[in-house]
Amino acid sequence: MSATRWQQAAPALGVLLIVALAALLQFAIRADWVDGYTVPLPSEVLASLPRLFVEEHVLARFAMTAGETFAAATMALVAGLAFGIVLYRWPRLRAAFEPWVAVLAAAPLVLAYPLFLVLFGRGPLTIVVIGFASALAPVILKTVEGFAAIRQVLLQVGRSMRLSPAQEFSLILVPAALPHIFTGLRLALVFALINVVGVEFLINLGGLGQLIGELSERYDLPGTWAAIGLVVLVSVLFFVVLDAGERRLGRRR
């Protein structure tokens, strides 16, 4: 029974651990073990939040970064599923291209940002496209992984019932591979958000990335870290929604 008690307390303990780490950092900086000019005091980071809200249009930036990330991840999901199904259906294509998908994950797309600027213009589209391109690989890889792990007999049931390709996709492949697809989607969000913020930072456009860039130029360390905290908040937002979605769709298996 106490085991379940611990289990219930787990999320709270996780938060507690993070808070404790922050407190430890605070102490370490105060005690001068850690250089306070390289890492800001956690308390100052918190204290700088209101300032950011008042002075820096944080809400609009937050919405912008979140929106770009959402668009990139959604596109990656749709395209990744499509690619996934193609690679899965045609094993020869899979053998030919799966390693190349992995190479896509290793391509430093951010460094080629001028190309994207030329192709997609100076605007959110460029950011979304780079986010999308970097989020695509994990979705494809995880989708194919999930499809390939499906027990053959479940597919045979589908075939014996003469499912159309679309039915097979939506009624068997996707539900059976759902945990893998969700992992792919998680990674896609991580990759998309990193790149969205990175590009915003690089071309000085849009949301939180630009803010981080400006604040760090100003050597506003607490503000910079607080802005990064806001990026974390964007990911919290997405993952809370994602977890809820997974709980609904993927209950008990």
């Binding site: 027990r151 007999v153 479940l154 045979q156 049931v157 075939r159 014996s160 019932m161 003469r162 499912l163 039915q167 009624l171 068997i172 539900p175 059976a176 759902l178 993927g250 209950r251 008990r252 298996r253």
Partner: protein, 264 residues
């Protein structure tokens, strides 16, 4: 092998290539099943029954030979066929009632109506009260029954079953066998049952096909001339016993060969 046969299997051979170990699983099998007939296939473990089952179902291509259902040559799954697989094949992400209602959902039936139909088949296999459970919360035999109910719910004209009662106790198996028989008669279904239970084969079938051990050949066909319905009396009758003994004898040779060859 009349043309009128609902199912006709002619000269079917299946060889697994050298990459898969190089083995003839089914060798030159031919037989036919008439409309409304109940035929069982029986043979020792590993003799090629499931391979044959997959070929008839249109899921595996035979190396040689041809299968036709309702006069059409089989090239892929045929709409008249419903299959119950040897391996457990419930959809783990669907609860019991949605598993059973699956073929009805495919047919585009509304939720209420398909659940009503599914409920009937759930009751039939003795799973009332478990409608909302997911397969992971069922026992092995219960999962197998879900799969049976799912295939029955599609009301196939030709029912193919591969050891569907394997993980059921003998009583449940008998009761369930009877029910399947009833449905078959009501719906004029044709059934091909793969089984390893001799009594089950004799109890349910019009004919029993015995397969030999490696390569899987047709060893003999035995017509079961017992009146229907086969009541408890018939099951203890000497005729019943004779059929069982005869099959038993055939199979003992094959099974012994199977195990002995290995030890040789």
């Amino acid at each position: 092998m009349t043309d009128a046969a609902l199912l006709s299997v002619s000269r079917v051979t299946k060889r697994y290539g050298p990459r898969n170990g190089g083995l003839t699983a089914v060798d030159d099998m031919s037989f036919a099943v008439e409309r409304g007939e109940f035929v069982s296939v029986i043979g020792p473990s590993g003799c090629g029954k499931s391979t044959l089952f997959h070929i008839i179902g249109g899921l595996t291509q035979a190396t040689e030979g041809r299968v036709s259902v309702e006069g059409e040559a089989i090239t892929g799954p045929h709409p008249a066929i419903g299959m119950v697989f040897q391996e457990e094949s419930c959809f783990p992400w669907r609860n019991v009632i949605d598993n059973v209602a699956f073929p009805l959902e495919l047919a585009g039936q509304g939720r209420a109506s398909r659940h009503a139909t599914a409920q009937g088949f759930i009751d039939l296999v003795g799973l009332r009260g478990f409608e909302q459970r997911h397969p992971s919360e069922l026992s092995g035999g219960m999962r197998q029954r879900v799969c049976i109910a799912r295939t029955l719910a599609a009301r196939p004209r030709l029912l193919l079953m591969d050891e569907p009662f394997a993980s059921l106790d003998e009583q449940t198996r008998m009761l369930l066998g009877d029910k399947v028989l009833q449905i078959q008669q009501q719906l004029h279904q044709t059934t091909l049952l793969i089984t390893h239970s001799i009594t089950e084969a004799v109890q349910l079938s019009d004919r029993v096909i015995v397969m030999s051990y490696r390569p899987g050949r047709l060893k003999r066909t035995l017509a079961i001339n017992l009146p229907r319905p086969r009541t408890a009396d018939i099951l203890v009758s000497p005729e019943f016993g004779t059929y069982v003994a005869e099959l038993w004898n055939d199979l003992r040779q094959e099974a012994t060969r199977g195990l002995a060859e290995a030890e040789g």
